[in-house]
Symmetry: C2
Subunit: 406 residues, 2 copies
């Protein structure tokens, strides 16, 4: 007797994997209504055993048990990291099983080839949870907004750095102090490099840029700056300018080509990205007909991320026997150099160098003053290309730092 349940396997019973199982359990009725049939977790792959766990009996240690079971239709890869996740995903797709994943590192590095492999095997490869946690972003891009000419995507894609920047701003605390507190609270990893150096946001914008361009944007090609150089005085100047400081990840298509970068930016208060605070993520998309839409939500967290994985599982079950098209070919995308991008820059120098600033950057520089900060001079340049800015900055004595304006 055949039952009418779609069989799912979860690879990795950690935070996200156990969240996926929990969503499938807790919302079983809603899930089956949405998918058109009930879903059953048949296997959970993990190196560990989970004695006493409700799903103890589903835990296996051998991927082949899963791959050789013809009943399994969907595989959720929630292990993270490149290997063995990549090998498992490839073998699953080759075995005619659809795969969905929250693994941004893997999707950024190999997503396009896995989409092509899925197409070849007439199954699907989905990764909603890899960007923006539970925010239904990728499905909207691939579905409701697919008929738009999207020319820019800008996002706050890393909750840890946004939390740190928000705390520094609101409490006037130094980067190291806030980072330490965030680590104590579990908002930041013990090794915070991936977050604070912008590497995590870089992986995520690489995925969005690949979807936007239809080609593979290699994350190694993306200019990436983290938030470690931002100091508390920067926030005081930002307030004087009616701006927030945010780590933005962006990709843009214009007459200069296709360009993507990750860096801290001064964002005017009137831009809704400026008021995205704490661990929240937000992604703003501009389409030629639609104008701007923004999606906002928690970019991480067990249940939110798991809910996005489950949305993919449901989509796969609804499209049984069909490949869900994703606009992402393995061909390498060519990015424009950042040199041509034109913007204003905020600059701080050690001495009162107003005269020098005007000599180097022209009379249009706008002086920014804070009575509370002494022994330095700050200004905003007129719009200038990245390349020209870099060249001119060399001519200034004693530069303390600079931040781009959005």
């Amino acid at each position: 007797m055949e039952d009418n349940m779609a069989k799912v396997a979860v690879l990795g019973y950690g935070t996200v994997g156990s969240g996926v199982v929990e969503v499938l359990d807790t919302n079983a009725a809603e899930v089956s209504k949405s998918a058109g049939e009930a879903l059953e977790v048949k296997y959970i792959l993990d190196l560990r055993d989970f004695p006493g766990d409700k799903h103890e009996a589903q835990v296996v240690h051998d991927i082949d048990v899963i791959l050789n079971d013809p009943e399994v239709e969907v595989i959720c890869e929630t292990m993270g990291g490149i290997e063995p996740a990549l090998t498992f995903e490839k073998r699953a797709l080759e075995a005619g099983k659809s795969v969905c994943t929250s693994n941004k590192e893997l999707v950024a590095a190999h997503g396009p080839e896995l989409v092509e492999l899925a197409e070849k095997n007439n199954v699907s490869y989905l990764f909603e949870a890899s960007v923006g946690g539970g925010i239904p972003l990728l499905r909207s891009l691939n579905d409701s907004l697919k008929h738009e000419k999207v020319d820019s995507i800008t996002g706050i894609l890393n909750g840890t750095t946004n939390y740190i920047l928000t705390k520094m701003d609101k409490e006037g605390a130094a980067f190291e102090t806030v980072l330490k507190k965030a680590q104590e609270k579990g908002y930041a990893e013990r090794n915070p490099e991936a977050d604070v150096e912008g590497y995590d946001a870089c992986r995520k914008i690489a995925i969005l840029a690949s979807l936007m361009s239809g080609k593979h944007v290699h994350y190694e090609d993306i200019y990436t700056e983290g938030i470690t150089k931002i100091n508390i005085h920067d926030f005081e100047y930002a307030r004087a300018l009616n701006m927030s400081i945010k780590l933005l990840a962006m990709c843009k298509k214009n007459e200069n080509g296709f360009f993507t970068m990750v860096a801290p930016f001064l964002v005017p208060y009137e831009n809704p990205l400026a008021s995205v605070n704490g661990v929240f993520n937000a992604i703003s998309i501009h389409g030629n007909m639609l104008g701007d839409v923004m999606f906002y939500g928690k970019g991480a967290g067990k249940n939110a991320t798991a809910s996005a994985v489950v949305a993919d599982v449901i989509d796969i079950v609804k499209h049984k026997g069909k490949h869900i098209e994703i606009n992402m070919k393995a061909e390498k995308a060519v990015l424009s150099p950042k040199d041509n991008a034109v913007r204003n820059f905020f600059v701080r120098v050690s001495d009162d160098l107003e005269e020098q600033a005007r000599e180097v950057f022209g009379n249009g520089v706008e002086v920014v003053k804070r009575n509370s900060i002494h022994g330095e001079f700050a200004f905003v340049t007129e719009p200038i290309s990245e390349k020209d800015f870099e060249e001119k900055l060399w001519k200034m004595d004693s530069v303390k730092g600079y931040i781009r304006l959005y």
Copy 2:
């Protein structure tokens, strides 16, 4: 010879209708990629002729030409109003043609019965553009978030009133002054009642509440308050409380039942809805696993709204021969009375009635002071039910006004 183009008819060649045709023209390549086949506007129904218009030859004056043409698969109703739109939509569905519309008035009043009629005829009835303009909200609710137990939807659903409130707040100008300017700029109708009295937001939350409950929430049952009583002093108090004043439309499911209302609310700055300014709309959805997600964008405008209609057309073409399920039955939803909802209220009275306020509302009332405002007294109550608040307010002398806290 049969061509491979899905044939579309547009009813009403006004702002949204001509926008739909423009989106289909301008983004033809993207549209056909998304739909899987090209789309052709075969007919445009309007009372007027459009000599010189690119689509002059498609204009017809008789609905029967469209309904009797078996080639037409999709009908976009962009006429607005109840009749003759309702009759045309019904006849189209009965003729086996799918319908999509931006007509919020009609969807609020008859949407659920039209969804049922579509199901009976194995076609689809979609209305993404009826709420939130171009924001891909309904499709996300019906798709990516369908496996969530959604227990609350709160939105700023009317751009005109949000523009007026924003201007009053930022410029300290009176309601009438700002309204007049908004009318001059075309942001408000000459007869502004539908917007400023909250009727438009009420229609939209009725649609969202129907989707959330799966039944027909009648808009006449929704408690609705507009913004005409908000005055400039309210914004000064709001600032003292670190809050904005927003016209919120909301529906909530909790132990008291299912409840929906439209009214101005004081919204704390830390809530992202507080910083939604100008003509923008935003809708926050809370799911049991997902937590909060918010969608933000222009809630009106020709091309944004048209883009949402086109997204529906594409969805229909992709699901040819299938009814797209919408969670909305014609059965009437039972709403809880607002009496039981518990919240804080902000109250202004004519004289210095602190003692009376404490007698009536208890010692927990919080006094709100503005040095710039004289001859009155303002306070915030402790959490209290709507019913108790109403009863107690009668005991206060000379009440000038009150606003709910979100």
